[in-house]
Symmetry: D3
Subunit: 296 residues, 6 copies
């Protein structure tokens, strides 16, 4: 279960409220790279964790920290939507900057739906979506999902940092950026414990590789028409680490090959009468009627 | 631009059609772990690629391959929804197994909306969502997004492999599982080219780390109430690789610390009159009315 | 079944078309506080009504009225997207204000997708979502869902009223605001008929309260760490009506208590082999392998 | 910021795992009536709270409690997806019941995507949607949103209670049902503090009622064609509390009136040339061409 | 504005309630082929109609009829979820068939969320989505959107008709199927008034065709690798009406040509420094650093 | 399977980058009228095609072409987000125009999430949704879905063409507009092969019309209250082609009739006890308790 502190994990100050920046900050709250996603993702991974308990506990710790990050950002949004006190004397004019801002592109729902506070949505007002919460039951897959979340999350945070000149906002973001650094390292540390790429990959490592079609397990298949058909084309993709040498998981040798069809042209059966296709679809390629309708 | 072959990349055979397995296969088509996602993800990453061209080309190659995987799975769904030929003699009865299957939990839209074919949706019929397509403009972040996609994708494929006894389906899946092996390795190979975790992390590596709040960049902050408050509790999370030693990115030293608030209790201003809060919200903590309404 | 009148329920005039206000009005059409939601909500409640028929009929009446409100707002959007007649002389220039408006933050789809008319979406262009339509089959729960809809709806309408200086728009909104006043009262009148909070609550009142865990039915559980753990903290939440005195439903006595765990630390079983977790997850806390793979 | 306890708020035991009940429990996690919604709703209301601080604090307390409810339910889902220990001897057969269950209608993603654990989705696998999180900035509107959430939530919980025979599950639900009882009362207690319906309504009470069109503020408008047109029909809706007597907010008198159009038939202008309507739309009702295309 | 009749447009009887058929019927209510979609689509087209008024009026007529179709289907769902009267004697057992049905694949939300009534969702429980409501402002485009809606709608209705043996349900569906027949004809009648394909196409016909790249306006471009590259392949697509002869709009001549690139390989500029790509992306193809970071 | 060419199908040049136009172009990528939709729609129709193979092949050809259109538009978005080279000298200032543009209404995610490249979303940032992909299994229904897609698509493209002055963008759009012309004709050519409206309609033509309620198959039912009830009203909708004459499908005669109820007022049974309605709902119209609760 959970407890809360009335204080924030880190100071949130806004020197110069900016409704447009409030709009941008929403990406870090309710966007796919945002804090609701990582919070729920780590907590759901913890709640469904099977295996060594330290991973469950560690996920719970950081998932709990992330609730506090949503809180910080929600506070930052609310403060960016406020008018500075000294402009408040003329009470009713106090909202004009907001309405002007909306007229100039700010999020209208910050005023219309939320009364100048944060929402569970991204910077375009698209609601947070639970499908982004990845908890696969496979620890290594989940760790890479977490690395990805913290990587795109830190990219987002640095862009937000760059987009503002507000000293308070830059300070808050420099804290969040640092936490993303830690969390990238943290999930990679689990991968290291799991043996690194050589131990963990291919994920899941519990599936017997003898059951996969080994002929295709370490080949780069080039679909570039220059490579494949005319045969005289460039093949920039053949120049990479993925085209030759030992595979990263240490279990194969990379090769570079032309993609080509190993299957046949698929032939589906005629439509089932009860599917009510057009009658013209009931004939086969030679024009014979294959499916005959009778009194239904 | 793109071309197509009439043949499949790999053979797709269904020995014993099974509408419930058709339902499950949809996860690999239109689910978050599925082929539409990776196809569009790699193509969008290619189309927006800036920097060394070989990455763009390589992404385009594999994105193009993935279209063919959607095709294979869509074909597999259609075949699993067909009634075996020898049962087709009594034409109108041909659909009974389908309707019975729907009555027993199969996807009703496979019959109602698609006429016994595949859809751009997951195994619960939830439509594919473009928000899953990650292309951040940062190559390393994108590579981890791709590792994650192929890891959860291979986990999914192995579970599908396990859930069927159909020889044709197992064969198709053993091919797709192998391709996922390659693709996990392929994206990791790019990370290796980018210097591995030590070179690439923290992502983005172009943000000057001097600007992040370094005090919090390598500390595990424990939110466990046992660790933090009572001080006498267990702390399983302190036992991991992430709690001490050199950080994975080689740029810091891990530490394990109690999470505590560094910020204050947030105080938002009174509601703007134009937000039409309840009048009771207009008073401050001491009961003074801070916002006064006049004739609007 | 339904009929229509060619006339509007109330006059809709726009003195000075404003594409940005058209964008804001969309919240009242296709947003969660909007008219499509209440229209479908009341109609679905009516169509599924079981019990005294007067509630069904009343819901049908008001649901039907709401279709006319969507119509009024859709008309208002279309008129706000028109260029005033006197600016129409130079025909092709007629659209310049629109395109300029889009470039300045108006909804691009008002031009691109709708040809200068309303859409079934909110003020950020997020489509109406059927999940907002609440019809639970419990009359009291539904009435509170309706009070909530009309309360957030009236808040929205007053904010729209404030955001415009257009006399026609203010007049239309003053009508819609009045209807929201009526509808708030109307749903509360049903609650009164159902006995008010003392008769209706806890909702559903048909569930035998003897089956609920009565120990927790009227206690405020404080999760504030100051209250709970250090024990020396402030507890502002203890000052409210909810912390002592007779409960609102008249069936208990409020108390204020420390939240604490009554359950244990959860222990899930090891991963099922067929879930293809990482092999490292197959060991228990003491390192013994609990799940053994055999030939699959 | 937030802390966590390793223990659950209340015991979660499953005597007889049941994948179908796991599917049903998802509604209480990621459905619109579920715990993620109330958790985020109360927290966002707290984070954006303006006005007397005790409401902010109280919302934070209960929002924090709700995280623990998600945890309990997620644990319950995971346990319902486990095979009972005594069936685990034959390891590989351990999953058969799950796959059989999926074939019979259980959520395929519980196996395919989550590896036998909970997801941030409803009982049909539809992802949690952030649009459900209502925080309007108006305290009374938010309280009714909360009453509605706890009312539909308690209705859901009683139905889940009824749908299971599992003693552990019934016990857990009897606790959650009790908490819903408290929370319904709690939000009503705030309404009482705000003056009850007479003080709080119409919501928002800060909007000057002189600005609403008072003629329509307390009239039930009957759209029933029997009432309106033929004039000889039944009018069951005229029998309710909403049709006569003092209004619930004490500020008006209910009346029952025929709905009729007060507006005109709307006339929109001709399509703007740049909207590229069909040329036939460019003529007015008399056939004159109003919009003329020139060389674009 | 709108009125309602207490009676249904057509009789709705269910001889043998069937929760699984209730689930299937939801597709016709809240699915993309369903009645909420056509209802809102025709009404939004009417509300935004510009040009000859008879189209606006006609759209309003049929949009209003469709509300009554949602009502019929919602009634059918509610009746299919009821237990037949003679089984009602043992009151509490009355729900057992429902819960059994859910356990066997019926929609759990029909019980859990709706209390045995219809919802604004499709047959998989996916909510209705406002994005399906097409109203483009171009009359011909809208008419084809309507033809498409009624065509997929009638296909759906015939499949539902086939899936049930219930006499009442078959009768109701035979009415709805007939209405779909009328509506398909109705929208085509508008197309005929607009001149048929020769007059209306290419849609929009108000765009001067001189501005389109006429070289590509009537050519079938074959992307089949057999056609294009090897040159020795089959070309089944060359056999169709679209490959030669006068175009359907009468404004061109069909031809069959090899698809080939007319553009170049795209070259995007280097990443903007503020995008925080990886530093490795800052070099050009020759390894020169194009974007230089300075102290930010 | 699929191959790719490194070159674009048609040249994409941007003379003057414009982030607002990049935002608008997104509608043609990830909007309901956009290229991802048609691409997946034609491919899914091909992959599920049953009946004469030439349709499958033709759909595959054009679906493959559309991938190249997504590519062109994605390239156009990326180029519109670039700063012109001569403004790049001061490196760090290079992004200012972007941030200014976002502050003025451009899509914030183009910078924050995509690093100045295209996304799988529409012009408001709403993600592409797989529900738009229509593949019904009925060839004629699918062709009308395709005509609709290309009609709304061409309307969109002409509006984009009008909204820009950029010579490169106008050229690219004139190509795409031409392709839409071809594709409208192409799908109509299939309809012609299927016998035109007289042969193909009502869709599906394989459903025996004897089973539909022929009385309602060709009647326009007027819901206009003027037509229906007062009987003295105008009836503009009676003036159309749909009101009299032979039906378009040649199988009936149009008529114009008053809509009226043929069904009864629906009566649902009392709530099932296990639905936990309010107890007040358990009484019938005469006040007798129909459902009695006993000890649960």
């Amino acid at each position: 279960m959970f407890y809360h502190d009335s204080k924030l994990q880190y100071e949130v100050k806004v020197d110069k409220p900016n409704p447009m920046f409030a709009k941008m900050l929403q990406q870090a709250i309710g966007g796919i790279e945002g804090e609701i996603r990582v919070c729920l993702q780590y907590l759901f991974q913890a709640w469904g964790a099977r295996g060594p308990v330290k991973y469950r506990d560690m996920l719970m710790e950081t998932g709990t920290e992330e609730i506090g990050h949503i809180e910080m950002l929600a506070t930052a949004v609310a403060l960016n939507l406020e008018t500075a006190p000294n402009e408040m004397k003329d009470e009713m004019a106090a909202d004009s900057p907001i309405i002007e801002a909306i007229m100039g592109g700010a999020n209208p729902r910050h005023y219309l739906s939320a009364g100048l506070a944060a929402m569970a949505a991204d910077s375009n007002g698209v609601p947070f979506n639970g499908s982004w919460v990845v908890a696969s039951g496979n620890l290594a897959a989940d760790m890479y999902a977490n690395v990805m979340a913290e990587s795109t999350g830190r990219v987002l945070a640095t862009r937000l940092w760059h987009a503002t000149d507000d000293k308070g906002m830059k300070d808050m973001l420099s804290f969040l950026i640092a936490r993303d650094t830690m969390h990238q390292n943290q999930w990679m540390a689990v991968i290291e414990e799991l043996g690194g790429p050589k131990g963990a990959m291919p994920i899941p490592n519990s599936f017997p590789q003898s059951e996969e079609n080994s002929k295709f397990a370490y080949s780069f298949l080039s679909t570039n028409i220059a490579t494949n058909v005319t045969g005289n084309g460039e093949a920039p993709a053949s120049q990479g680490r993925w085209a030759s040498g030992e595979s990263i998981d240490g279990k194969g040798e990379f090769s570079f090959e032309k993609a080509m069809p190993f299957g046949e042209k698929p032939v589906l059966g005629p439509p089932a009468p009860a599917g009510f296709a057009q009658t013209e679809q009931m004939t086969d390629q030679d024009g014979f009627i294959k499916s005959v309708f009778r009194n239904l």
